[in-house]
Amino acid sequence: MTEPILSVRGLSVEFVTRRGTLRALDNISFDIARGEVLGVVGESGAGKSVTGSAVIGLIEPPGRIAGGEIRLAGQRIDNLGRDAMRHVRGKRIGMVFQDPLTSLNPLYRVGDQLVETILAHLPLSPSAARKRAIDLLAEVGIPAPDRRIDGYPHEFSGGMRQRVVLALALCAEPELVIADEPTTALDVSVQAQIIALIRRLCRERGTAVMLITHDMGVIAETADRVAVMYAGRIAEIGPVRDVVQDPLHPYAVGLMGSIPTLAGEAERLVQIPGSMPRLTAIPAGCAFNPRCPRVFSRCHVERPEPIARGAHQVACFLYDPASGLPDPRQRAGVSPEVGA
């Protein structure tokens, strides 16, 4: 097996507050291979964006990386100094955020922003950089790029702006792109265009993508593998088809069931009682235990570690032979009926 582009091992992130130390990420591990799209899903506060920020070294005080390591193509990057990290960011890891307006400087022409970024990372002459900027804009599907390059961000529509941000992220041919809710601010018709674009770029260039979103539909369309996060931990990680259609972790089962689909009209949506715990009050043992329909004594005491099951990894004692339970797949055939 070739070495993964991104390898995260035992990563923990803490925020020091007056009320004590909050653990936003608690010992998570995952890999992303070359050309692979890893989807990261979860509800607000699950730690999706913190994971992205940790990888690009943008955790600001009072937050800090409390443990674990992050490797980019084998090289450790979580302990790099400020300047060294700045070179990695932009050059080797590109970023796309939710709101394209905040990623672009409204006072500079789109072309100037692209050229500036290209010159910062690549040894090109200004005229060659401008040509490259035009090529990039064409590649992300902006019509008449040689004219639009001299436009200001406000002259672009939301979808077009997000394309510019994507071009900006791709300036220096990064090995990894971190896209944090790239389509959330867009209308569905435009969203589909951006998804198709991300998929195409990733296939053509072999760029790995970490796609952070709360929208399972987007993940199902785009990602190769998906990690489901809950309260700062990875509940389940595996190939997208398996996780979406046949999830193992009770939280993932509930999450998939709670999404209304176009295909059929369910009389009732599966509902998970309660809501995700705040970081100040994460229960002992498995963080999901107060909401879990299949909780048993062990879940209150021990924290489940990821257990390999086929191509999945699932952090749930139901799947641990040491729990001495009958094979859970037989009972999991029925989706958990949960009351409010």
């Binding site: 979808g159 209308d187 259609q245």
Partner: protein
């Protein structure tokens, strides 16, 4: 079933011009935005009528005019036979007000942070004189239980609740006036999916128990599919297609509806072929001539560029009218 709400040729124009002096100095003319341009539909008692569309399509403006938060420029809203606009119906309208309530998108903005939950829910009860003294407290507790909260929660402030719980409080407030018609403007789009499922289930349960009628505004087609009995699709201030929910999803007719359904990322992983979506919603200040969808439509011809289609038999499209849409394969949406 009988008709509860009748919307006839509703229009709303916003003046988005610059101030007079600036406009005069720059020699610019007035700029008018037709947010809603001739919308008609009717809602049957006990059903959920959904308006879907992308941002800027005018769906929220319609909702605000239906509840009377915004005066229409032209057209009429009749609720239970009473006009919401005609001056003659003023007395009847006052009685009607109680029966119409609204639930908003952002439960962080729609509840007064300095009021206790009990006072928030009791306000409509007091305002309409539906109960007095201890009966108000009893009714508040009853409403809280109805939406799945605890009567003791009445003593708390909104900030002590999560987003989903706040939306439950907003629903309790809407029900406090003993209303039977509730306008919901994106009630779950600020919520996480698992919480969204709780709220959607609750809204359906309440509809079954209390016989409520909903006008449901959303951009999320999957949510609409789950909730609605009838759906109106809006594009640039006009309704382009109206159909029973099942029919709309099984056999969409208007090219825009087909495009919209095709663009929704689906969990089914069917690998269905997609027609690439063209372009974006145009600027509503200077909409295209004729059918406003023609620049993005694969079926547009000269007539579409010239003439604005009217809603006939549930769809406003020249191509459908003339049978030109048969060439286009029906969107591969599983029925």
């Amino acid at each position: 079933m009988s008709t509860l709400v009748e919307v006839r040729d509703l229009r709303r124009v916003f003046d988005v011009s610059k101030p007079w002096l600036e406009r005069t100095l720059a020699r610019e003319s007035r700029m008018l935005l037709k947010a809603v341009d001739g919308v008609s539909f009717s809602i049957q008692r006990g059903e959920t009528f959904a308006l879907v569309g992308e941002s800027g399509s005018g769906k929220s403006t319609v909702a605000r005019m239906v509840v009377g938060l915004l005066q229409p420029t032209a057209g009429e809203v009749m609720i239970d036979g009473v006009s919401m606009t005609a001056a003659a119906d003023a007395a009847a309208r006052r009685r009607l007000r109680r029966r119409i309530q609204m639930i908003f998108q952002d439960p962080y903005a729609s509840l007064d942070p300095r009021w206790r939950v009990g006072r928030i829910i009791a306000e409509p009860i007091r305002a309409f004189g539906l109960a007095r003294g201890d009966a108000v407290t009893a009714r508040t507790g009853e409403l809280l239980r109805l939406v799945g909260l605890d009567p003791a929660d009445a003593a708390k402030f909104p900030h002590e609740f999560s987003g989903g719980q706040r939306q439950r409080i907003a629903i309790a407030r809407a029900l406090a006036a003993e209303s039977d018609f509730i306008v919901c403007d994106e009630p779950t789009s600020a919520l996480d999916v698992s919480v969204q499922a709780q709220i959607l289930n609750l809204m359906r349960d309440l509809q079954d128990r209390l016989g409520l009628t909903y006008l449901f505004i959303s951009h999320n087609l999957a949510v609409v599919r789950h909730m609605a009995t009838t759906i109106g699709v809006m594009y640039l201030g006009r309704v382009v297609e109206v159909a029973p929910a099942r029919q709309l999803f099984a056999a969409p007719r208007h090219p825009y509806t087909r495009m919209l359904l095709d663009a929704v990322p689906d969990l089914a992983l069917s690998g269905r072929p997609r027609t690439p979506v063209q372009g974006e919603i145009p600027n509503p200040i200077s909409p295209p001539t004729g059918c406003t969808f023609h620049p993005r439509c694969g079926l547009a011809n000269d007539r579409c560029r010239r003439e604005n289609p009217v809603l006939r038999d549930g769809v406003a499209c020249h191509a459908v009218e003339e049978g030109r849409d048969m060439a286009m394969p029906a969107a591969a949406v599983t029925a």
